[in-house]
């Protein structure tokens, strides 16, 4: 139902819809239904022009909010921020007056985003308002209140509301990224805001912690840790701080990935000699083997509907991407170009799989459609780009790169534009995974 509603909504807004394709698998005589993918073709090209006005009792606080708000709106990729001269807005509590509307229209501004910041004691109040220029009407007004330490979060909340009111899409300004950093001399896990601020350590075992993966409700993180000597999979509950070791098989237990319904974790284990893909529930029970081929099978990633799993395998001689059904059947090879393709990440929109594609002696981030078409190299430059992960809106990708020497976390739009470095301390950072909400 929810899916249908969303499709209707998207259709109304002129979003094209690619219908399901039925391909007949004559070999085994069964009908194999491809997953249904949505693709936005409108709205990418044309951005909504908005003006942002932030004011407050304390101009430095207002200025800080303004920076965060503007950066959020630009990153959303939906807006053009219009900077202009000479416009004067007087008293606009419920409706923009005719004269102001005329001026704004003349400047091509469709909407005006207002924020007024009040600070007292340790509390910050953001009075947010959004006006539509055409009618002059107030689209929404809301007061956000929070501890002043949360000034960025308060602003992100308002940004997301603006994005939602103007586009119907859920904003990503409140999302976060989990990653590995060697800041303490050990590879520990950290969580930062999607814009790189407020990093926070979530492991402290002074061993090796790798491959964090966020559950689809955003409350659990599965990861590999060597804390007991052997690489095993752990799950930490972010709401309770409770940590559980969910595997302790001999050899490697690595690259956990949550199924979209949150019920299963796909991972790779070498308990059979070769690394093979298995699934289990989040307590580590109900183990089921999915791959049986000679060679290493690692790095599973689920399609958004949970029907298929893409993974890396060297069964064909070199590491390449493969796709299988979630029960391990119908395996097909996805990548053929290049000697080394790895680290697949299925877009939440379903239409693309991002991965690390080797070019010369280093990796770039590539995307490919699940049908093997549309191979696109989206990063360029020096160093190596690895470990892609999608934003929940499927419009941008976070990855680790050594392009500036040390390993840092970067984000980039899925069309290869707007590269932004997110980590700025002098440590190394790897393996980012974007939160689902």
């Amino acid at each position: 139902m929810e899916r249908d509603d969303r499709q209707d909504e998207l259709l109304k807004r002129g979003v094209f819809y690619i219908t399901s394709i039925l391909s007949f698998m004559s070999v085994i005589g069964s009908v194999h239904a491809e997953e249904i993918y949505l693709e936005t073709l409108k709205g990418e090209a044309r951005k909504i022009p908005v003006a942002v006005v932030v004011a407050g009792d304390n101009s430095s606080t207002a200025s800080a909010v303004s920076k965060v708000l503007e950066a959020d709106l630009v990153r959303s990729m939906y807006f053009d921020l219009i900077k202009n001269k000479g416009i004067k807005i007087n008293g606009v509590p419920s409706k923009l007056d005719e004269a102001v509307r005329g001026q704004l229209k003349g400047l091509g501004i469709g909407s005006v985003v207002f924020a007024y910041i009040t600070q007292n004691e340790k509390m910050i109040k953001l009075d947010g308002k959004l006006y539509e220029t055409g009618s002059g009407e107030l689209i929404f007004a809301k007061r956000y209140i929070g501890n002043d330490r949360l000034i960025r979060r308060v602003t992100h909340r308002f940004s997301d509301e603006v994005v939602f009111r103007l586009t119907g899409e859920k904003g990503i300004a409140q999302t976060r990224i989990v990653y590995v950093s060697d800041q303490t001399g050990y590879k520990e896990l950290y969580i930062m805001d999607y814009d790189g601020y407020s990093p926070r350590m979530i492991t402290a075992n002074k061993s090796l912690n790798l491959s964090p993966s966020w559950s689809h409700d955003g409350t659990l993180i599965a990861y590999t840790s060597y804390r007991d000597g052997n690489p095993d999979i752990y799950v930490v509950d972010l709401t309770t701080s409770k940590r559980e070791k969910v595997t302790s098989y001999p050899g490697l237990d690595i690259s956990p990935s949550w199924s979209p319904d949150g019920g299963l974790i796909a991972f790779a284990t070498s308990m059979d000699g070769d690394a093979e893909i298995y699934v289990m529930d989040k307590e580590g029970e109900g183990l089921k083997r999915l791959t049986y081929m000679h060679g290493e099978d690692v790095s599973p990633t689920w399609s958004p509907a949970g029907e298929e799993i893409a993974f890396t395998s060297d069964r064909g001689g070199t590491p390449q991407l493969y796709i299988m059904k979630a029960d391990g059947t119908n395996v097909r090879r996805l990548t053929f170009k290049g000697e080394y393709n790895s680290d697949p990440a299925w877009s939440p929109r379903g239409d693309k799989i991002a991965f690390a594609c080797r070019r010369g002696s280093s990796f770039r981030i590539c995307t490919i459609n699940p049908d093997g078409k549309g191979l696109t190299e989206i990063t360029s430059g020096g160093g190596s780009d690895e470990s892609p992960s999608w934003a929940p809106d499927g419009r941008r990708i976070v990855f680790a790169s050594s392009r500036e020497g040390k390993w840092n976390i970067y984000m980039i739009n899925n069309d290869g534009s707007k590269l932004e470095r997110l980590t700025h301390d002098d440590a190394n950072h790897w393996g980012p995974d974007w939160s689902p909400n």
Binding site: A55, S63, K88, S94, R200, A275, T318, D343, E386
Partner: protein, 226 residues
């Protein structure tokens, strides 16, 4: 009003009415000129209705989840414990001066005459020269019948992290299999992969990468004398 409802904006209606109710009340009028980077070119007067308690349209922002203390449920290892984890000196190759080995409580002792074996890029096949080293290692292990070894599989930095862990594991596994062919009981051989996560050599060149593609021997338990 109807138009707004049609647009599906619910809370706003409430707020809009609230604002109308309060529009006659005392207001604080702030004139802002260039108070933010975005508005420095815009002369703006914003009227702030400080009395407007926006019914329903008020939201308290709280801390995000994951403000957990990483130390909770995570046993911290004291620095004095860590020294035990460092690889003991005097082992293996001269070039091998960096890095630690085991991360757990194993007491790694000198690996004596055991030598590491090396691999080609993305390969798990043992080259002839390396096979000779492995044979000598097997002889040593047979002579030192109580020694238990851990073979740590490593890869160079040029692959992707997760695949390299599998590659390192396979290298360690292959070495273990050969040692058993040469007569060393498998139960005396443990394997552990570090992939590219614990490099022996940090530079980004072939000389360095070659040193990092290895099966590294660590004696984890040895009773009796050597």
């Amino acid at each position: 009003m109807m138009k707004m409802i049609k647009q599906g904006i619910r809370l706003v209606v409430v707020l809009f009415m609230t604002l109308l109710i309060f529009s006659g009340c005392s207001k604080k009028v702030a004139t802002i000129e260039g108070s933010s980077p975005s508005s420095k070119d815009i002369q703006t007067t914003v009227e702030v209705d400080s009395t407007a308690k926006s019914g329903g349209a008020e939201e308290v922002i709280t801390e995000p989840i994951a403000l957990l203390n990483p130390d909770i449920e995570e046993k911290m290892i004291e620095p004095s414990d860590l020294s035990e984890k460092s690889r003991s000196p005097g082992e293996l190759l001269e070039s091998d001066k960096s890095g630690e080995s085991a991360t757990n409580g194993d007491k790694a002792v000198s690996a004596g005459d055991l030598r590491d074996v090396f691999f080609d890029f993305d390969m798990t096949i043992l080259k002839e020269g390396e096979m000779d080293i492995l044979k000598k290692n097997a002889e040593w292990l047979k002579k030192n019948g109580s020694a238990v070894v851990r073979i740590e599989g490593h890869a160079d930095e040029r692959g992707t992290s997760e695949y390299n862990l599998a590659l390192g594991e396979k290298r360690a596994y292959i070495i273990k299999k050969y040692l058993s062919v040469f007569g060393v009981p498998q139960k005396r051989i443990d394997t552990l992969s570090y992939g590219e996560e614990k490099s022996f050599c940090a530079d980004h060149n072939e000389e360095c990468w070659a040193k990092n593609r290895r099966g590294h021997f660590v004696v984890v338990e040895k009773k009796g004398s050597l």
